[in-house]
Subunit: 281 residues, 2 copies
Amino acid sequence: GHFTLMICGESGLGKTTFINTLFQTTLKQSDPQRRHSQPIQKTVEIDILRAELVEKKFKLKVNVIDTPGFGDNVNNSKAWQPIVDFIDDQHDSFMRQEQQPFRDVKFDLRVHAVLYFIKPTGHGLKPIDIETMKRISTRANLIPVIAKADTLTSNELQIFKNRIRQVIEAQEIRIFTPPLESNVDSSDITNNQDVAAIEHARQLIESMPFAIIGSTQKFDNGSGQLVLARKYPWGLVEVENDLHCDFRKLRSLVLRTYLLDLILTTNELHYETYRRLRLEG
Amino acid sequence: GHFTLMICGESGLGKTTFINTLFQTTLKQSDPQRRHSQPIQKTVEIDILRAELVEKKFKLKVNVIDTPGFGDNVNNSKAWQPIVDFIDDQHDSFMRQEQQPFRDVKFDLRVHAVLYFIKPTGHGLKPIDIETMKRISTRANLIPVIAKADTLTSNELQIFKNRIRQVIEAQEIRIFTPPLESNVDSSDITNNQDVAAIEHARQLIESMPFAIIGSTQKFDNGSGQLVLARKYPWGLVEVENDLHCDFRKLRSLVLRTYLLDLILTTNELHYETYRRLRLEG
Ligand SMILES: Nc1nc2c(ncn2[C@@H]2O[C@H](COP(=O)(O)OP(=O)(O)O)[C@@H](O)[C@H]2O)c(=O)[nH]1
Ligand SMILES: Nc1nc2c(ncn2[C@@H]2O[C@H](COP(=O)(O)OP(=O)(O)O)[C@@H](O)[C@H]2O)c(=O)[nH]1
């Protein structure tokens, strides 16, 4: 199968590192020279990268859409436009291919999930975050994450998560949430696997927005194990440690447990919404 | 005496915390509610706070100028205008008072130093940083600092400092640097105190831009001492530990060693430049 993931956020929030951490390969270089020696009014670019995740014989083709330049200018009005256009264009392109006599869809880059990277200010969302997330949320599965979460103490992180949730709710921004209803007959609620799945979904929802830390470097974690981590003079921050961040929760949500949900809601809900709006003129 | 310090940078960079750390008193509250529930196009405000630093019988009146709202909008063109206007207005006000028949200066808020807080992206300076620092640098003593430096590993910090220095040089932005010439007859160069002062100045210059971490909370540093620090699940970041950040270097530069230089260069160099430009029309 294939899966298209878009990563959106200002430069310097660790998006490139996150992509590489997620795919454990150097998919692209952290590239400050190219991006930051450009003149003031540069446009937002769309970068498309492809990788293949091979896990337990299941081969997943992943397209990663990066958005360099987003939010980096002095004037960021409409910084969201290229992102919104890209998402719409993929639905549009699929629609046209579907309308062909032989319905031969050669090319499907419809975005199954958008990870929106939030600056770890500790305060709340900035206007550009709200404006951009609103527009993404009506078009694709939006998953806001807190970037560089090692900037926040446990206490600050909890306060920050609560504040972000309040603003998201107040602004009526729709976020992708793991479906809580089971796919099985609800009279079968004593089914242990089902109860476990619902409990897992609740725990994920409670941790959102996920606090993200990324690293492609490995260090000894003190017990002789080499782990992905960031090494500071005052300690080791471990990417795959649930006490340090929600990386594993995000990875399992996006690439395992709800991968199918993300694809289905995109191809059914979001695509159909787009199609209907287009055909109604 | 009195000293006026301006703190400039986007919200969420720890400016309020830094001000409080510097003055070890709760000069102002970290105040997300007021600042971040405002509509998108809010203007940059100028907040003036006063404190008295009493150290070793030397009483220093300090005015702190904060700049809430700077850089927080979607469109930040001219976000620097209120800052630049404030600095110019103080020179202007002093000029008018000086021109009075009795030259009775009742009110002097000329800005002796501007600390510009740089986001710890790890990449480089953003356009708004360059545009703002350029305009500040021609009017006041500019001291750029790296905010929330605990976001960066030692390696990333060194790379970041070098990149910032390169951009500052390329953009010809004038930064306040500790004067390397001694105030004493240079034939007296074997004077140990002088050599030590020059060496101290060199070390400060080498650490610039200073990496800043702030905290008003105290924790046990493991040796039974209570120190100002940030407590993470993976370790304790100490504000007054030179291996963790340059807070002590900045504090000594601004409030001790070069306090007089900052005041004199403002009242002589910057003020005279402003006065001449104004009188020349
Ligand atoms: N504190 C912190 N720094 C990170 C993290 N991930 C990446 N970085 C660093 O942040 C800088 C920018 O990272 P990069 O991935 O290029 O960010 P991008 O511009 O959003 O793609 C680099 O110095 C990274 O090493 C993280 O989780 N926490
Ligand atoms: N990582 C880190 N966080 C900090 C530091 N100083 C303050 N903070 C936190 O950053 C958030 C915003 O701080 P604040 O002082 O209000 O920032 P301001 O908006 O620039 O005035 C709060 O949660 C602070 O506790 C620091 O040096 N490092």
